[in-house]
Every structure is written in structure tokens, then in C-alpha cells.
């Protein structure tokens, strides 16, 4: 052995070992992972050429593609291309109007309590099976069934007896869903709801194929098993890695899908995704880290899209001293949103009202504007100041995040400067934060809301006394009554006025919360991509998108 070793020079020996290293690299590579070819579970492989493939970042693995159970953005990005609902959105229209999809038309009685949907005939699923009304009913039933354990079951709680069915108190035959004819669906609601069709554009209410779910169980959403009625078919899904859609040539709707493959990568880190965009691997990224924004704004690929998402500071209205509405009013008047937005420097829209711009129910003239005089007067009315109570010390909590941190610091500085109020900032990890808001909300807390559907009820409902999302513990029966009236009102203008009044009650009289700004999303879209679905609802439907 000694001689053998001696015969090799040490450098040659190292060279030999490096070769071994190289060979082992090559061997691992031979296990068949190539970026341009994907083996399909149905057999064969897909060859992804640049000209035929749109590469998009999905950010993370979709928790599920089972639309009765999916709740997050990455899942719906995929689902909205594979499947469609009874109605859909006209994403080009100003206030995101509804348009027919699987339902050709719909109508309701005068009270908006009984709805009838007429379904399209001669539609076929990707596997050639006919689309039926029963599949719509199955979708509703599955979403609501107790043992499905779906988070969005409450979406359909407005249907007569749906909640009782979800709790196992009544059978399905008691629920207000009925097929009047094979293609005519009647839905009876507990109470009038003028926006009910919006709910049927949401993935959770999409029709399902029970035959496939029975056949494959939880694996029905895997490539090779899954079918839909949408413009794209799921061809491959390598968990935690990527997901491939191919256009469905027999798609019934319009426009027809043009890009052959949509290849979703799952790149979690925004800066990594940017690197992949810069190196030409990704065509689109929809997250740009704050530190990069300034530089990227100058790029011709840069796009900014207003979102239906509002950020606010809520008050715990049940504990000292924020149970004093005058103190809350003083704080609301002392916060200058323009300055906050300037610090964020991302084109966010300052917001005094509750519903974000771009949606029916947005008011620019509602809420408490920054006004130092009023702020100080209300602080005095609250019993603070010279010769009165000493100023209280408040706690402001937010979930750990650089943006929330800078907003909180700005508000802290403004309240100190404008009112002399001392505010202590505390941040917590997301789930701990949620737990805290449930158990014991602090004086002031950060929260936000993103539209499930672009109807004001989705936002206004949050602050009702019966809402699980009302973390302020503010209760106002007049507000509750207004929201119920708004839901049942079918006249658009009357509805608008109801929400204006409710917004005033919430933000000017009750001051349960201070809206801060409406969020925007920042994207980079490669020049070769035309008509990319960048919209306020974050609904990514690729059927109208083309590659140059």
C-alpha cells in the first residue's frame, strides 16, 4: 500500500479524488432531472421549449389542489386555470363585474333570496365526461359536509340550513339547494343576499367529480388523476419542486388558451426568484424585496398592480384606555398616512375608508383625516392633558415583518410627536400573534384583509358583532343592522349609501380601527409575455396570455 500511495503524486491523488467527485455529480444527474424535459405520470415526457412555455413562480408548494379545501393563493393560482365556477370575473372591467362561466345566466326573486342558475349544455371535463348540474350540487354538498373538514365551508352558510348541515344537525335534503331540471339549479338562502353569485366564482364552490374522488381518494388531485373544466390540464406535479399545466385544446370558453405549457416553479425566496428572472429562467416574478424596489422600478419589465387588500390598525375597544372613543379618535386624527406610504415607497394608496379602491364601496371621503387640532382636542376630551389624567402608555403589536415594523415605527414617532403619547412596539411570530389577538388583543394591533370576492360585504362584514374576524371587540347593533340591510339591498346606489353610512359609523363614530393603506403588488414581467393576468384580485388566469 505504501508503495502504491508513493507512486501517485499527492496532486495527482487530489486530482483523482476530484474526478471521483465530478463523476458522482454526473451520476446523480443521470437520475433524470432535466429542466427542459418533464416525465409525465401518464407516460411520455413533455419537452418544454422556450417558445411554448411560460415560466411562473408559484412561490410555494400548493397545500392542496382540492378546490373544496384550498384556501391560499398558490393553490388558487393553479386551480383557476384547471377549473372554472358557475360565474367568473371580467378582469378588465372597472369594478370587477361578474360574467357567465359554467352558468349561462342567473336571476333571483325580488328579495334576492331565491336564486336560479341555468347551466351551460354540452360541456365536457378534460376526460370527456359530461358536465352536469348534479356535479354542482355535489360541490356544494362536499364543501359543507362535516367530515370534509373544509375551512371555507362557511362560504355557503348563507344557504338555507347549510350551517345546520355542516354541524350535522340536518340532512342534505333540508338544505336549500335543488335541481329544478338537469341544468337548472335553485338556491334558497337563509336571508336575502344580493351578492350571492360572487361566492360561486370562488374556487371553494366549484363543481366536483365524486366518481374521481371516490376512485382516487385524496390522490384525485395528482397529475394523471385530476380533471377540470378549465383551459389548462394538470400534466405533472413534482411536489415541492414544480408543476406543469398544458393547454386543453377542446376548452369550451373564450379566449382559447394560447401558450402550450405553463410551468410553475416553487421558489420561496424573493431574491432567488429575482435571480432566476435575471438569468432568464423565470418569465414572471410577483414579489420584489423592499431593498430591490427602487432599482427595479426603472426596469421596463416592472409592473405595479393595486390589490384589493387593506391594512389597518385595530383597537381593543374593551380595555383601558383604548375603550375611550375619544382617545381612539385622537389617535386616528394624529396618524399621517401619506407619510407612512412615503416611507414604504412602493406606491401603496393611503386609505381613510374601509373598502380599498378599485372596488364597489370605496369612499375617499369617509374616515378620519390627519388633523392635529382635532387630534389634540379629542385627546383633551378623552380626559388627558394639563391638569387632567397623565397620558397613558400604549402597546402596539404586529406580526414580525420588515414592512409592519417600519409602519409601526412611523406611527410610534407620529403619536409621540403629535400627541406626546408613548407607544411601546411588540412583535410576534405569526401564529403566536393570531393566538394573542384571539385571547387578549393589545391596545393597538396591525391587521389586514384581502378580498375573497370584490363585494363590499366581504370587507364590511368583518366588523359586525357576530364576525369571528372582529378582533377589536367593538359591538354596534346599528352597524350590524346596516350590514344586514346592505347584503339584502339589490339597488346598487341604495347599497352604496348604506355602506357609506356604515363606514362612517365604524370609522368616524366608533373608531374601532384606523385604516392605513391599500396594498399593491410589484411584479416583473418579461417583455415576451403579452397580456399577463396581473389584476387586483390576484386571479391568475392564463388563457388570454400570449408569448411573443
Amino acid at each position: 500500500m505504501a508503495q502504491v500511495v508513493a507512486r501517485f503524486s499527492i496532486w495527482r491523488r487530489c486530482g483523482f479524488l476530484l474526478t471521483v467527485f465530478g463523476v458522482s455529480l454526473a451520476l446523480t444527474a443521470c437520475t433524470g432531472r432535466r429542466s427542459d424535459r418533464i416525465t409525465l405520470p401518464e407516460g411520455g415526457e413533455a419537452l418544454l421549449t422556450k417558445a411554448e412555455t411560460l415560466k411562473v413562480n408559484l412561490t410555494s408548494e400548493p397545500p392542496t389542489l382540492d378546490w373544496s379545501k384550498a384556501t391560499d393563493v398558490s393553490s388558487s393560482k393553479v386551480i383557476n386555470n384547471i377549473m372554472e365556477g358557475l360565474v367568473a370575473y371580467d378582469l378588465q372591467s372597472e369594478e370587477l363585474a361578474l360574467r357567465p362561466a359554467l352558468a349561462e345566466k342567473w336571476s333571483s326573486d325580488a328579495a334576492a333570496r331565491v336564486w336560479v342558475f341555468e347551466l351551460r349544455a354540452d360541456l365536457k371535463w378534460h376526460d370527456g365526461v359530461e358536465f352536469t348540474g348534479q356535479q354542482v350540487v355535489d360541490g356544494f354538498q362536499r364543501l359543507l359536509a362535516k367530515d370534509t373538514g373544509s375551512e371555507y365551508a362557511y362560504f355557503l352558510f348563507g344557504i338555507k340550513n347549510a350551517k345546520a348541515f355542516n354541524q350535522g344537525q340536518v340532512g342534505w335534503d333540508k338544505v336549500g339547494v335543488k335541481l329544478l331540471a338537469p341544468r337548472k339549479l335553485q338556491v334558497t338562502l337563509e336571508a336575502p343576499m344580493s351578492y350571492f353569485p360572487h361566492l360561486l366564482a370562488h374556487t371553494s364552490t366549484f363543481p366536483v367529480r365524486l366518481d374521481l374522488i371516490q376512485k382516487y381518494g385524496a390522490k384525485w388531485t395528482e397529475a394523471g388523476n385530476m380533471v377540470g373544466l378549465g383551459p389548462y390540464r394538470l400534466r405533472a406535479w413534482r411536489h415541492d419542486q414544480d408543476l406543469l399545466l398544458e393547454k386543453h385544446d377542446a376548452y369550451w370558453g373564450s379566449p382559447k388558451p394560447e401558450i402550450r405549457y405553463v410551468h410553475f416553479l416553487m421558489v420561496n425566496e424573493a431574491s432567488t426568484a429575482l435571480n432566476l428572472f435575471d438569468s432568464g429562467t423565470l418569465d414572471v416574478v410577483d414579489q420584489i424585496p423592499i431593498t430591490e424596489r427602487k432599482r427595479r422600478r426603472a426596469q421596463k419589465e416592472y409592473r405595479r398592480v393595486g390589490m384589493l387588500q387593506s391594512l389597518y390598525y385595530g383597537f381593543n375597544t374593551q380595555i383601558e384606555p383604548t375603550n375611550n372613543p375619544n382617545l381612539r379618535r385622537a389617535i386616528a386624527h394624529a396618524i399621517d398616512r401619506e407619510k407612512i406610504v412615503k416611507i414604504l415607497d412602493g406606491g401603496e394608496v393611503p386609505l381613510t375608508g374601509w373598502v380599498p379602491p378599485g372596488m364597489f364601496g370605496y369612499f375617499s371621503d369617509v374616515g378620519l383625516e390627519p388633523n392635529l387640532e382635532k387630534a389634540r382636542a379629542y385627546l383633551a376630551d378623552a380626559g388627558y392633558g394639563e391638569g387632567k389624567k397623565p397620558l397613558p402608555k400604549l402597546e402596539l403589536h404586529f406580526n414580525t415583518n420588515e414592512v409592519h415594523q417600519s409602519v409601526a415605527e412611523a406611527v410610534q414617532a407620529q403619536l409621540r410627536e403629535n400627541l406626546g403619547l408613548e407607544v411601546e412596539l411588540k412583535s410576534a411570530e405569526w401564529k403566536s400573534y393570531l393566538d394573542q389577538l384571539k385571547v387578549k388583543p393589545p391596545h393597538i394591533f396591525r391587521f389586514g384583509w384581502q378580498a375573497d370576492y370584490p363585494d363590499p360585504d366581504n370587507f364590511m362584514n368583518l366588523m359586525t358583532s357576530y364576525s369571528d374576524n372582529n378582533r377589536t371587540r367593538w359591538k354596534n347593533s346599528a352597524y350590524d343592522a346596516l350590514i344586514k340591510r346592505g347584503a339584502s339591498e339589490t339597488d346598487r346606489e341604495k347599497r352604496r349609501e348604506i355602506y357609506r353610512e356604515a363606514s362612517r359609523l365604524l370609522l368616524e363614530e366608533g373608531v374601532a380601527a384606523v385604516p392605513l393603506y391599500a396594498n399593491v403588488s410589484h411584479m416583473l414581467i418579461h417583455q415576451r409575455v403579452e397580456n399577463y393576468p396581473a389584476n387586483a384580485l390576484s386571479r391568475f388566469e392564463f388563457k388570454g396570455t400570449r408569448l411573443k
Binding site: A2, V5, A6, S9, I10, C14, L17, L18, V20, F21, S24, L25, A26, T28, R33, R34, P63, T64, D66, K69, T71, K146, D147, T148, G149, S150, E151, A153, Y154, F157, K163, N166, Q167, G217, A218, K219, T221, H239, D240, Q241, L265, M266, V267, N268, E269, S271, T272, N275, L276, D278, S279, E429, W430, K431, S432, L434, K438, G448, D468, N469
Partner: protein, 320 residues
């Protein structure tokens, strides 16, 4: 049974007990942690949440949940993820772990190939410019965090900053072909290579002045044989000692490297499962990592015996 067999059996038994204790502690800690798996931004109505919890057996008394979990473990059933609907924890781990192991194994190989020779040569040329240079690299390798090295290498080899001719020579992320492997493997391997180099150098320096080395040289044995046969072999013990934790650490992947290079390994799950409060996944991952550490340490302990005949684990048993 031979002494060694008995020794291994004893160690394995100890490992099982250790794992059971870890499982129990993790289970308890998770339940103390505020926030549950189904606390969401859009708060769920109580009745909806109750249905979901019932589906996963979270409505049962805690003791029953614990016993179910432990009996599942014994049967080898790790349960279903709370976050990834319908995917078993075993599936998730068996898809992600091999990727992390691949990355770890390649980095480890790189670390040994680079680290050990570097250490030996540095020691052989003690106090020379080579020694100083090698140790400078080694100290930087230990000190520089991978979240800095990774992006630096990406800038250099993917975007040609500052050397434009290097632009596009290596992809900046993903895990698809050998070209994709190079940057993450080097980034991950740098630190262990540096640690190994320093360890080796120290150990070699200690043995290089021993009498048997002088004897070998006096007998006219070539310097390289002296170094690699006589000296290195006797310096392997400290290198082996750190190899256990090193191997376990590398094979389990590195969260930061996997994030920077978008590698579909286990590191991401380690962090996100906690953020998501995905109890079954957290528990399974904790156990897998504990197991890897236990096994790596056991293997190292056994290897001691081969490297240095004076260390025989079974000595106390049957007398070797």
C-alpha cells in the same frame, strides 16, 4: 453474541429510549406553543374549526392524542400533514430528504477532499506561506456565513460580477442538473472543509514530531508516505470525532442553502412546519434528525476502533 454485537445492541436500545424521550418532549412542547395549526388570518367560525380538528383527531383528550401518536410511531405510521392536505408525512419526508442527502453527501465529499489534504500540507509546511494562506482560507471558511457566500458566488458565476466573462457560467438556483449542483455544494461544503482543514492541521502537527515519525524518516521512507501513512493515520481520531455531527448536519441539509438556491429539500419543511404548526410533520422531522445524529455518532464510535486499536468499544464487555 460477540462483544461488538452486544455493544451495538446496547447502543441501539439506548437510541430507542432517547428517541422516545425526544418524541414525548417535542409532543409536549408543541402543545405549549401558542397558536394552533388551524388558526388562520381569516378566522374560522368555531363550528367549522371543530369539524377540521375532529378530522385530525385534535378533539380527543391530549393523553389519547399522545398515545395515538406513539402507537402510530411503533407501527411506523407518521400520520398525515395538517398543511398539505392528503399528503402523508412519510411521503413528504421521503421526497425531500433524498434531495437534502444528495446535497449533503456531495458537500461532505468536497469537504474531505479539500479539507484533509489542505490540513496535512499546511502542517507539513508549518509556518510557511502556504500554511498561512491555507489557514487564512480555512478561518474565512468557518467565519463567513453561507447566506453571504452563496449570493457572492451567484453574483460571480451567474451574473459575472465583477468578472463579466464568468457571466452565465453557472445557474443561480434550482436543482436540476450537475451545473445546478456546483454552487450550492461549494457553498455548503466550504465550512466543513475549513473545519476539517484546521482540525487536520492541528492533529498532524501534534503527531509530526513523534518518535515514530522520526524513525520512519531515519529509515528513508519518502516524505509523502510518512505524511499520509504514518502521520495522517494517527491524526484521524479528532477528525473522526467531529465527523459524526458534521455528517448528520450536512445530510440533514441546510435550510439557508436550500432557500438561497431553491432546492426542494427537507430544510424548508423544518422551518415551515413550525411556522404552520404542522404537528405531525414537526414530530416526524425531529425524530428523523435525532435518528440521523444517533446513527452518525454510533458509526463514528465504531470507526474509532478501526482507526486506533487502543480504542475498542467492547473492551469493557467480553474483553475484546
Amino acid at each position: 453474541m460477540s462483544g461488538k454485537g452486544l455493544y451495538i445492541l446496547k447502543r441501539l436500545l439506548g437510541a430507542v429510549i432517547t428517541l422516545a424521550v425526544i418524541a414525548t418532549l417535542t409532543f409536549a412542547l408543541l402543545r405549549i406553543l401558542p397558536g394552533g395549526p388551524f388558526d388562520t388570518e381569516k378566522a374560522l367560525p368555531d363550528e367549522v374549526k371543530a369539524n377540521i380538528e375532529a378530522r385530525y383527531g385534535l378533539d380527543r383528550p391530549l393523553l389519547e392524542q399522545y398515545l395515538n401518536f406513539m402507537s402510530g410511531l411503533v407501527r411506523g405510521d407518521l400520520g398525515e400533514s395538517y398543511k398539505y392536505v392528503g399528503r402523508s408525512v412519510a411521503d413528504i419526508i421521503s421526497e425531500a430528504l433524498p434531495v437534502s442527502m444528495e446535497l449533503g453527501l456531495m458537500s461532505l465529499l468536497l469537504a474531505y477532499i479539500v479539507g484533509i489534504p489542505l490540513g496535512v500540507f499546511a502542517a507539513a509546511r508549518h509556518n510557511s506561506a502556504f500554511d498561512t494562506g491555507a489557514m487564512l482560507i480555512a478561518v474565512s471558511g468557518v467565519a463567513l456565513p453561507s447566506f453571504m457566500v452563496g449570493p457572492l458566488l451567484i453574483s460571480l458565476f451567474s451574473f459575472g460580477i465583477p468578472f463579466a466573462f464568468l457571466q452565465g457560467s453557472l445557474p443561480p438556483a434550482l436543482w436540476e442538473s450537475p451545473a445546478h449542483y456546483i454552487l450550492p455544494v461549494v457553498t455548503l461544503g466550504l465550512r466543513p472543509a475549513a473545519i476539517l482543514a484546521r482540525m487536520t492541521r492541528g492533529a498532524v502537527l501534534e503527531s509530526i514530531h513523534q518518535d515514530y515519525v522520526r524513525t520512519a524518516r531515519a529509515k528513508g521512507v519518502s516524505e509523502r508516505v510518512v505524511l499520509f501513512k504514518h502521520v495522517l493515520r494517527n491524526s484521524l481520531i479528532p477528525i473522526l470525532s467531529i465527523s459524526g455531527p458534521l455528517v448528520a448536519g450536512l445530510l440533514s441539509g441546510s435550510f439557508i442553502i436550500e432557500i438561497i438556491f431553491a432546492i426542494p429539500g427537507i430544510g424548508k419543511h423544518l422551518v415551515q412546519s413550525v411556522t404552520n404548526r404542522d404537528y405531525p410533520l414537526i414530530l416526524a422531522l425531529t425524530l428523523v434528525f435525532s435518528m440521523m445524529l444517533v446513527i452518525a455518532n454510533l458509526v463514528v464510535d465504531l470507526l474509532y476502533g478501526f482507526v486506533d486499536p487502543r480504542v475498542r468499544p467492547e473492551k469493557s464487555g467480553s474483553g475484546g
